[in-house]
Structure formats: C-alpha cells, structure tokens
Amino acid sequence: MGEAIVVTSGKGGVGKTTSSANIGTALALLGKKVCMVDTDIGLRNLDVVMGLENRIIFDVIDVASGSCRLEQALIKDKRFDQLFLLPAAQTKDKLALSEQSMQTIVAKLKEQFDFVIIDCPAGIEHGFRVAVTGADQAIVVTTPEQAAVRDADRVIGLLEAHKISSPKLIINRIRPQMMKNGDMLDIDDIISILSLDLLGIVPDDEHVIRAANQGEPTVMRPDSPASMGYRNIARRILGDPVPLMNLIADEGGLFKKMRKWIGFR
C-alpha cells in the first residue's frame, strides 16, 4: 500500500507542477515506484514539464468516466521504468472530475505504487477539493513573498478541515542574497507564520526554467542548486534523516555556489 501526497499552494505560479515533477522523479531516482497525477483539468502542465506530452492517449477524465482502464491511461516515463504519469484532460473543465472518482483512482494507484504524487491546481475551489480528497499527506509549496505565504496559510487551514493534518512545507525560489539583505521574507519568518514542519528549501535557479522547457526535470542534473534541494526533499520523504539544511551555513554555501554559477569569481 503506497502513500498519496498532494502538492498544493493556493496561489498560482509558485512551483506546484515543477515541485511535483521533481519530487516524483527524485523518488524514482531513489528506486521507488511512483505515479504522478495531474489534476489541473483544462490547464494541464505536468506532462509538458516531464516531456511526455506527445505520449498522451487517454487521461484521468477518461478513466473516471470509464472510457478506458486505469492502466491504459498511465504513461511510462522515458527515463525511469518505475515512474508513471496520469495526465489531466485538456479539453474539459474542473467539474468533469468528481471527488468520488478521484478517490477511487487514487486508491487503485496506491495499490500499485509506493508513492502517488498529486499535482493540485491553483485556487481553493472544486479542483482543489478533488485533488485533496484522496491524499494521505500534503506538501504545501510557497515562495518567500507575502502573498504566497498568505495563500499557503489559507490552504493549510483548508487541508486541516479536510483532515489532512500537519502538511509539510517547501519554500521555493529562495534568493539567498535577497534574503540576507532582508528584501525577501526570511525562512524563519515563514515557518513562524505558517507553523509547519519544513520539508525543504529550493533556491531560485535558472536551470529549472531551462529544464522545464526541455521537458527534463531539474533533478536529473545533479549540479544545480534546485536539484539538490529536491533530492534532499525526496530523501526526507523516505524518512532519511538528511539533517535539515543548516540554513545559515547552507545559505553561505548556496550563496557561494550561486555566485560561481552566475559568473562572479
């Protein structure tokens, strides 16, 4: 019996899909059998980020409506035999997927996979409720911005109402330099407002954009800082006690790395 984890944020554009793709791939990299489910019906992206867009034949709506079997809709990743994607439909809208059918699909997937990573749409309406309904755990993605933290806070409240207790937090797009200067919300500030366990931090990284455009998850490139962040997150999900990044020292390290990478010194 696997574990279903929903990746959510409330606000759009903070990196839910990127995080889902990278966590899924990183778990597969560590030898786990993983299925990623895109629930953003009408605005599917996860297949694009994974570079699997051209292989879609059936989608999650086809499964829900009984037009095909679950196995037919699952797309095997081109890099890993253990990694699968259940794509969203692009032509329907969110209401096409009901909470019951989502629960059934996730329950079936949990029998076959170690991890089911559910990519949640932005917002807190029907799409959110559907994405959350079958999940055992939740990962809340936020960026060091006031608006993203506000929305994350709202979503955490809603997750608690959905009986998903103690979601885990990922702080994405950290710019160590700006954080150091106090121009960006501090990691400690964010944790103190949201009062959640920190699952990991991901620095802002140009490579993420490049990789997403190429349909190649960032974690495949071990030398990028964001890749390290996601790999650590995957290890922590498996219960590996990766010492929770010593933020200060890590910031320095990242800072140095970033400078080298940007081209200073």
Partner: protein
C-alpha cells in the same frame, strides 16, 4: 398584544421612562398601551437628544409586553437614526452576571487566513492568529501566541473589552465601535501588550497594567 381598548387615559410621559444606569441608559416602555403610541413617544424623546461625543448603550425594558420581531426592528431603527445610542438588549437593565454570562471560548491551534471565530463572550486563543484570520468576541480576546490578524473585541458594544497578546502585531483591532489599524510601517511586534479603550481613543499598554485597568473599570 394590543391593549389600547383600555379606558383609563394614560399620561404621555408614562409611555417611555428613561433612567440612567451604570452601563448606559435604561428605556422603560409601558406595557399596557398600544405599541404604536409607545414607539411614537420613543421617537419624540429620542428627537430631543443632542449629539454628544461617544456612544451610550441603551437597554430596553418592556415589562409584560412581548415584543415581536417587527417591534424590535422598529425600536432598533429608532435608536439607530437618532442620537448616538446603541441598543444593548431588550431584557432590561443588565445584571452583573449577564454582562459576563458566557464561558470563555478556548481555541487551541493556529487561527489561519479565512478562519473566523465568533463568540458571545471572551475568547482565548492558545496559538497564533495569522493575517486574514478574524476573531469577533462580545468580550475580551486573549492570545497566547503571535497576533497578526484582525480582532474585534466587545463586538456587541462593550467598551471595557480588551485585546491582549504575547506578540502584539495586529492588522486591525476593533473594540466596540472604535477601529484602529496597524501602522503602515512595519515595526517589531510588541511583547505582552493589550489594547483598550480610553474614552474614544484606543490605547495600548503593557500587560502588567491590565489588572490596574480592570480595577479602575469596576
């Protein structure tokens, strides 16, 4: 319950009697005449009111008469359109116990964005109140944590209500009808402070002063 058929003439001044009580004014409405007469007289009395600073809580007592919803609405409307009176209730003068009758509501956890806690008494939060979270209490609000949200204490007109927090950094505080918002420039949160009404002004003071403030009020 119209009793206008009564033959004995009533003196107009008996229809509505106004008394000053500790918490405001008590309006005693005669219960043995037609409600329309009483409302007319009430309006007449209220028209004589001059606007003065601050608001006064008006308690309405109507003896044996059972007010219909319609009557209550009419009375509220009269008070709302004349002078600066706030209706405190229709059950006569408040007794000491009725002023703090409800048990405090204790909430354990974080009050997150989008959550509203409403209670007809004091509210105690064991945790933080985040921006976008809201607490509306008829009594005091005490927060054992970091206050970053919006609080309305004394929501039904209790001017003596206070808002207290370990870390006091609210977006907005209201006590009775007085609103105060956070300064636009972010400052460090104050530790162990509470907000109270000093006349029409909201004041913030160290928690140590709370006992003194309470003693002064009672």
């Amino acid at each position: 319950m119209s009793r206008s058929a009564r033959s004995a003439p009533v003196k107009v001044c008996d229809l509505v009697t106004v008394k000053g009580i500790r918490n405001g004014l008590l309006f005693v409405l005669a219960d043995d005449v037609d409600i329309a007469d009483v409302l007319g007289e009430l309006e007449h009395k209220l028209e004589g009111q001059t606007k003065s600073d601050g608001t006064i809580t008006a308690y309405v007592e109507c003896g044996q008469r059972k007010l219909t919803d319609e009557d209550e609405r009419m009375i509220r409307k009269l008070f709302a359109t004349h002078g600066n009176l706030i209706v405190g209730g229709f059950a006569g003068a408040p007794t000491a116990s009725s002023l703090r009758r409800k048990d405090p509501y204790v909430f354990k956890g974080t009050v997150r964005s989008g959550m509203i806690i409403e209670h007809d008494g004091d509210v105690v939060i064991i945790g933080d109140v985040n921006p976008g979270g809201q607490i509306i209490a008829a009594g005091d609000v005490y927060i054992m944590g970091h206050l970053r949200g919006s609080i309305h204490a004394g929501a039904s007109g209790n001017h003596q209500a206070v808002v207290a927090a370990n870390y006091f950094e609210p977006l907005q505080v209201r006590i009775a009808h007085v609103v105060r918002r956070a300064p636009d420039v972010r400052t460090r949160p104050a530790e162990m402070e509470f907000a109270y009404l000093d006349g029409e002004q909201m004041a913030i003071e160290q928690m140590a002063y709370l006992a003194q403030f309470r003693a002064k009020m009672s």
